[in-house]
Point group: D2
Chain length 403, copies 4
């Protein structure tokens, strides 16, 4: 199979999906760029688009090479209320508009190097958690949308919503642009944080204007597939049609509860033992495909080689391999060039499919008990503030923490 | 502490070490670039310096930001005999000279953006494993050295040697340049593959001309520290002076044998659960410092954030933080800006120091039995060949593999 | 607290429960006697009552010393159709009547040494699995009941039923005696093997004549508590009153499916790593008590020290300790007599409560995938036969097994 | 193979070993009887011989049925200085003489029921740890020996010694009787607690008069085999002849240090997940046999079914199965009588040999860090006292404990 050329005319997201094509999403920008030194864990804001565009551009390129058909603008948490939250200094240096515009420019530049579309993205806001009004929250989304329209993104994504109410508001705003809207929630099989079932969430998103619905972030591929399955069943039961989308995290989380991996004690600085392998990803891509999902990507933890694994798994159906597969033998076959014979003996699918990888950590458990503070929108501790968390506030939290 | 400026005049590697400074090495290029899509696992050759210089440059920059004082030229396995080994197509497209020169240019460009030196590196050769003569093998090293001299690298590193004999040959060649030479072997506490003890290896390397000796690759930080300790003791017993250096892998390998992580069944495509955290790295950096090692870096698996962790741990001694720490709160303190209160409660050293991270893989073990074929230099299966491994050869290996 | 004397007049089972007393059951005879060499794993039949009464008597005594208030006759699988099943030779040597009578005699002898009642027990039959008629199956239970009546047991237990239909038949037969009947199913939260919910099963058992209902065997304490909770809720919803009973296995089984631990690959010869500690039992006893369960015992894997742990945990409520506590310091306090100081340092509740015990098996996983053949009553492979399983039959099963 | 008859004339221990027969030892009395409610963890003294002879007798019988050729008198820690140590009340009720005599009588009674010898046993004393003189310590052993001579035991065992000096004293005393002496130390490959190598210990024991030497207790079979291997090599190097003996614990302890399993945090009340299976025992018995060991038994944790596994593994060499194998199908073959087809599919050696048993404890690690207080004979905290450990003493220990 030949790698695909870059210069063919591009079809829109719905054209592709309606034609039955599989669209491959990209991976997790905040986590990848945190490890590369450009994003701060805690606020997780994307000012790197202005500060270090070369780093953002390079990551986009790697996902493009790996097979991504969508360059999602690096505008996660780029809303004005997040850029000046809890002592984050960003808003003093750069306007939200500047951060969003730079993100669009970089995404477009790289998208034009291959067969990718640009998607402008919005996500949940601290304002919603702090009980601001519908009008107030929608205004935040609108400010980002103005940039996306100016920069002519190809479609829009409302992602990472824990409450269907806020997600619906986002979709309603984005829909106003006339561009296709995809909407994903960061919920699991238990539903949104108010307990609204996944299937019902899916229906509501479509009714608000989304053409593509699904989940992203917070849960591992296995759990995310279960949630999308519930969404699919909910849509079918309501006789509502939409394309399905999935972008899970690249961490095994069989032990997490309703709120996903942020509740796990390892979040965000000790998740390494949970990272999924490329073979886990191939299995995930296959299951997603079987379930009828045609927009398949990743979120936090998905590195370029994880995305390539989606593209390689689905190469038989799609008819081509991504550019980055020039540097990867399918199912480990490149190991036949290894110097050592016992490594060459691993150059085959059966070997990697069956392997149960050891953790190398005999003093550690295989599962954790998630924190489960059970607080959400409206709880005092979730009310956001512009100034830094004070020593006193931190001390109270330390006391509260069951350690 | 302020991040250091880039434009002060640079001291040489021995000036720094002789003055008692701690020099921070860089991380693992082949593994990082494999995940980014630019290096092929199996041959592991560095032709990306010619094919995708922007990707190599970006990784150098990330290590520089993270605190690396050394930009090691990406010339690992860039010897002519490796570039045309077992069906690797590289030598047909690019000369070894071109790959090595491009590596030097990129390293110099980025080194000049900060306080880093350029080190030209050579490593073990397939020719040695195939029992070629001393003269033959030395000629291979000389060809790389010619480039390093032309490109005026600041010092030289002979690394990743399993046999002290070949390492000595490499040091002897490099020493001819008059530049300082560092030499590291990829051995563990059991010594080189012929059973020559680590302490004796260290003495021999110094006698051959190395000013800095230690280990790199193949073993986790805990094991690597044990090996360097043996080297230190060997040097002391022989009354031989040298600086110590350490660049371990970023994978926990309590279960590996004499030959290191390539013997583990998970190598190289299922090592994820073994990846060490930034907190593991801080502990490692502290132990290395206590042991008197002053050239501290990483090898396969070390990503920029791992290198930053070395720089952060040793910031009290060194007096400054790296640039990338602008995007990282020491010991997780940046989490005080997180939206969720239970994550803010993790913004402290005690929390991360004590945490025993779960694997999220309850169906997998915590240790593996390494392959231990017990073959090394001279074994038929280690004789290298220009052409691809044949189907018949592969089949014989599959049969041999205890699975 | 003083250990209770043996010679006070005995109250019946319902008197005790109606008075709010906690009744402590006994542990698992077939598993304990298998390890002692008197029961054969596979058929699991109790002919030891005739062959080695001293061994059965000793185990009864140990449970009595440990605090059991019930000596359950060792008549598990003592129905005639099980004693001559699949090549089991028992029925040729001893009649079912002889086995059952000996069991009653031994139980009575030991019960009279302390404050314990004798309970005659029946359990599921191969005949039911082979689709024999209600009349046929009931006749089997009646034959055992005749013995129990002759031997004047204090009450009756119908236990270890996977299908509510068969359990109901058993209760109906036992109820004919006029003695109190307890009934427990070996089901989990998913309900009986036909999917009938636990709550509904409980109601049906009471309606058939049981005064005490609950679960025994097949699942660990945590899971069993969940099932009894569902039963309690089912009874409450139906406004039906009964006492609750629980006798789980002493093996951790977080990974088992609908059919319980017999589906786990480790059943029955590699369950050791799953054995629960005395501290796990204390936690279980406390939770059971909190849930309102007042007949608390154990099944397979429960050794005398596990039963003692129930009695020790509930000593504050019950007002006395069992005799065997003369040889056990509560919460490890007896370690203050240990020779080694670091072991004396473990003589306290906090230490044992917090401890996360290691498996000592780093090459093994922490969970298994259960076999899930999904066959039950009526499936060809479940049809019982008098003659041994043939080589051909075995071979077919080996092939079918996913290994 | 037929089970052996009981009434043939008995050969002595050396006759058997000299003839090349394999002698099977018994299992662990203190641990088994602790679980049955007759021995107190902490003091671990054997007054049950007087208090509950029926329980001790039954355990002897089970080991006999399982294949033991030696009934070791239950006189572990039955020295007078241990019976009145740290608040243990035993010496006030029963004399050491009475406890030892009862132990001999019970052992003889059961030995006469089959082909077993009676061995009188002594073990390490608190007096030695408290630095009492050689004469003082030897007097303690002599008092037990007087009973053994009076009761005409067949041979003697000095076992469970951490210091070669004390072991030698014991052997010297026992040797005075003229009876054959076996001697085992509870040491690992690192040697005795003063660092004296295992090989040297073995030689010294033989020179002191032992005909049979080896190890017992403290370490798992794998580690114990390594230690006996070192002893064998030590004997060969010194050109000293002796029979080899091994009686390890039935707990996996890959993580323990020099002092064995008492240093593990799980000792003694949370060792359950470490219990070895019958299949682990068969592997151990085979390895022991291959190493040339001909006295093969068990210590703490070895239950009757573990001893049976030794007898079954070595049945081909010995020519017969033990009585208890009437209730056990070799390699799980009895499962062909199981009701459920997927359990019948497990009726074969290959299945059980390959199985990696799960712990069922995903929240627990697979290895622990042992306490390593590094104190031994002569340390203040090891000085024994007649009165109970005081609250103040306990508090100091709790503080010292790294938890």
């Amino acid at each position: 199979m030949a790698a695909i050329g870059a210069k063919q005319p591009k079809k829109g997201i719905l054209e592709r999906l309606n034609a039955g094509e599989t669209v491959i999403g990209d991976g997790g920008f905040v986590f990848a760029l945190e490890k590369r030194g450009y994003v701060k864990a805690g606020p997780w804001t994307p000012e790197a688009t202005v500060e270090h565009p070369e780093a953002v551009r390079q990551l986009h390129r790697e996902f493009l090479r790996a097979g991504s058909n969508v360059m999602q603008t690096f505008t996660f948490y780029a809303s004005d209320d997040k850029l000046e939250n809890r002592g984050n200094y960003v808003a003093e240096k750069f306007s939200g508009q500047a951060v969003n515009e730079a993100a669009c420019d970089i995404a477009r530049e790289v998208a034009d190097e291959g067969d990718a579309l640009v998607a402008g993205g919005v996500s949940q806001t601290p304002s919603y958690l702090s009980c601001k009004s519908e009008a107030y929250v929608k205004e935040i989304f609108k400010k980002q949308l103005v940039v996306f329209e100016k920069k002519k993104v190809d479609f829009l994504i409302a992602e990472y919503f824990e409450h269907i109410e806020e997600a619906t508001w986002a979709v309603e705003v984005l829909k106003g642009s006339g561009k296709p809207v995809a909407a994903t929630m960061c919920i699991g099989p238990e539903g949104d944080l108010n307990g609204i079932p996944a299937g019902k969430c899916a229906v509501q998103l479509v009714k608000a204007g989304a053409s593509i619905v699904g989940v992203n972030c917070h849960f591992d591929p296995v759990t995310a597939l279960n949630t999308v399955k519930l969404m699919k069943e909910g849509l079918a039961a309501a006789n509502v049609k939409a394309h399905l989308m999935i972008q899970p995290i690249a961490y095994n989380t069989p032990d997490c509860g309703k709120q996903g991996f942020i509740d796990l004690p390892e979040f965000p600085f000790a998740l390494e033992p949970r990272i999924i392998t490329r073979w886990d990803v191939q299995k995930y891509a296959r299951e997603a495909y079987k379930l009828g999902i045609r927009y398949i990507g990743g979120c936090c933890g998905f590195e370029p080689y994880h995305i390539r694994a989606i593209a390689e798994e689905l190469a038989p159906e799609r008819g081509f391999l991504p550019k980055a597969s020039e540097k990867h033998g399918t199912w480990g076959s490149g190991l036949d060039m290894h110097t050592k014979p016992w490594v060459r003996a691993r150059a085959r699918k059966e070997y990697w499919e069956k392997l149960l990888p050891a953790s190398g950590r005999p003093y550690c458990p295989s599962m954790s008990k998630p924190d489960a503070w059970g607080v959400t929108k409206g709880a005092t501790e979730l009310m956001q503030q512009k100034e830094s968390t004070s020593e006193q506030q931190l001390h109270e939290l330390f006391e509260k923490q069951k350690f």
